[in-house]
Amino acid sequence: MVSGARLEVRGVSHAFALEKRALPVLQDIDFVAQPGEFVALLGPSGCGKSTLLRLVAGLEAPSEGRLLVDGAPVTGTDPSRTIMFQDPTLFPWRTVRGNAQLGPEARGTLAADAPRIEQALSLVGLASFAEAFPHQLSGGMAQRAALARALVNQPRLLMLDEPLGKLDSLTRLAMQRELAALWERERFTALLVTHDVEEAVLLADRVLVLSDRPARICADIRVDRPRPRRRDDAGLVALREEILALLGLAEAA
């Protein structure tokens, strides 16, 4: 079994160059995710969550600061750090299975990974759609296909960018349970971007609450509740209220 990677984000700031001025998106982001830790990133839309994941994935270099995985600086992409994009970005000319096969194909481990691919497809409930092309999938199915494609790579660090955002609520509940079970089995380090406070506290060991753009970490909340967790766990409900209050969305007490 593969163990999780240790991720260090050290003083990372990032700005995009717009026509005239710079658009600061991340400001002095600093945290460490321990091997096998499940970290949720929670923040308002457009604050820079996806950007942070892109930096960790090595798709872009930060304007300032350092990113280290197991002590080594991130210099580019690596299949052990897999990201599931917010848009599914499936390859339209590949079937669902073909999409899942891409990583193993790129590494030349297709034969060895074949069972894993089938397992991932049935995990996300797409086994019967393995031969379908992306344009034949609904938005939620495409997201699940993207999740399967990320999972087959046995990542040591898995980044999930609002992975369940397009799912209907029933499927979402089921997928949350699957994700939790999967993470407990595989113990990769997980970075989950989500809008859903309940989802964050249900899945994560730790919730980082980000401010409006430029994003700063405004709270680092530990979720010390036993697993498998129940949605109605009083501790989780209390945490959820606390985080909503931080986001300025507390319900009147």
Partner: protein, 300 residues
């Protein structure tokens, strides 16, 4: 933390089926609809009727034409009657003349097209895949493209003479530009997000090109091929008017000398059928190669 009792990845809900495998069956209908066995089967029948109906007007026109010719309303010196055309066509086929000339013309197109592909595909790849290649190749080709290639005929005759070479060169020139342009454009138009996804999953540069850039550029490139075939026929028609001694164009020019409008029309008909056939061929290739595209599935 204690190992969870859930050893199998897809934990079925206590009821037996997992909650979303139940949902799946509901979604499968929605998911399959656009691909649509059902819709296309529904459409098939009315479409056939529609296709048959489309032939009504042309058939009536041809009948009228024949009647007008028989009644002497149209001079057969200017326009042969459909019956005369059919007879001429039959004679040309029976004597093997048509097959011979057709083979000559097809050979010119085939060689010209092969040369066009031989130049345009490597150049398109070079310009599309590297900035250096683009600087070297693209500016030059864009300038050349501004020149209507048929205007090169006098130069080509001076350079290559009035034999086969000029005709083939003309076809090659006409076909090369659309292939180059669409391939270059197709490569540059590949969604950068897909390239990023490819990088994340560990594709090397060569792997990115093979698995993402080329399949992504293929639809455009095939449009280019279709267009190239069109210009190839056009070039052939022009080329075959230059001192040809064989080919469909020769057949037409020769017939003109003898005022055989029936043979001229047979020649035109053959040109039209060739163009149509080429188009069908590319459509067939598209259908086979681009099965993943919704638009192709939806076509016809």
């Amino acid at each position: 933390m204690a190992a969870p009792p859930l050893s199998h990845p897809s934990i079925p809900a206590p009821g037996g089926r997992s909650p979303w495998s139940f949902r799946m069956s509901g979604q499968s209908l929605a998911g399959a609809a656009p691909l649509g066995d059902a819709p296309s089967r529904f459409r098939l029948f009315p479409r056939r009727l529609g296709a048959a109906r489309r032939f009504v007007a042309p058939v009536v026109l041809v009948l009228l034409w024949q009647l007008a010719a028989q009644a002497g309303l149209v001079s057969t010196r200017l326009l042969a009657s459909p019956a005369a055309i059919a007879t001429a066509a039959w004679q040309l086929i029976a004597s093997g003349e048509l097959a011979y000339h057709l083979a000559v013309s097809l050979r010119r197109v085939a060689i010209g097209l092969a040369i066009a592909l031989g130049f345009a595909v490597p150049l398109g790849l070079l310009a599309g895949l590297s900035r250096l290649g683009e600087d070297l190749v693209d500016a030059t080709l864009q300038m050349l493209r501004a020149l209507p290639f048929l205007a090169l005929v006098p130069l080509l005759i001076l350079w290559l003479g009035i034999g086969e070479a000029t005709k083939i060169a003309l076809v090659a020139l006409g076909a090369a530009f659309p292939i180059y342009l669409t391939l270059f454009g197709g490569i540059r138009g590949v969604d950068p997000k897909l390239l990023e996804a490819g990088r994340v999953f560990g594709l090397s540069r060569a792997g990115l090109i093979r698995h993402i850039v080329l399949p992504g550029a293929l639809p455009q490139a095939l449009v280019g091929l279709r267009y190239a075939l069109g210009t190839a026929w056009l070039s052939l028609v022009v080329g075959e008017q230059i001192n040809a001694t064989a080919g469909i164009g020769y057949l037409v020019m020769d017939a003109r000398e003898f005022l055989r409008t029936d043979i001229i029309l047979v020649g035109l008909l053959v040109y039209a059928l060739l163009g149509l056939g080429a188009d069908q061929l590319v459509r067939f290739i598209e259908k086979a190669a681009l099965a993943w595209r919704p638009s192709v599935l939806g076509e016809r």
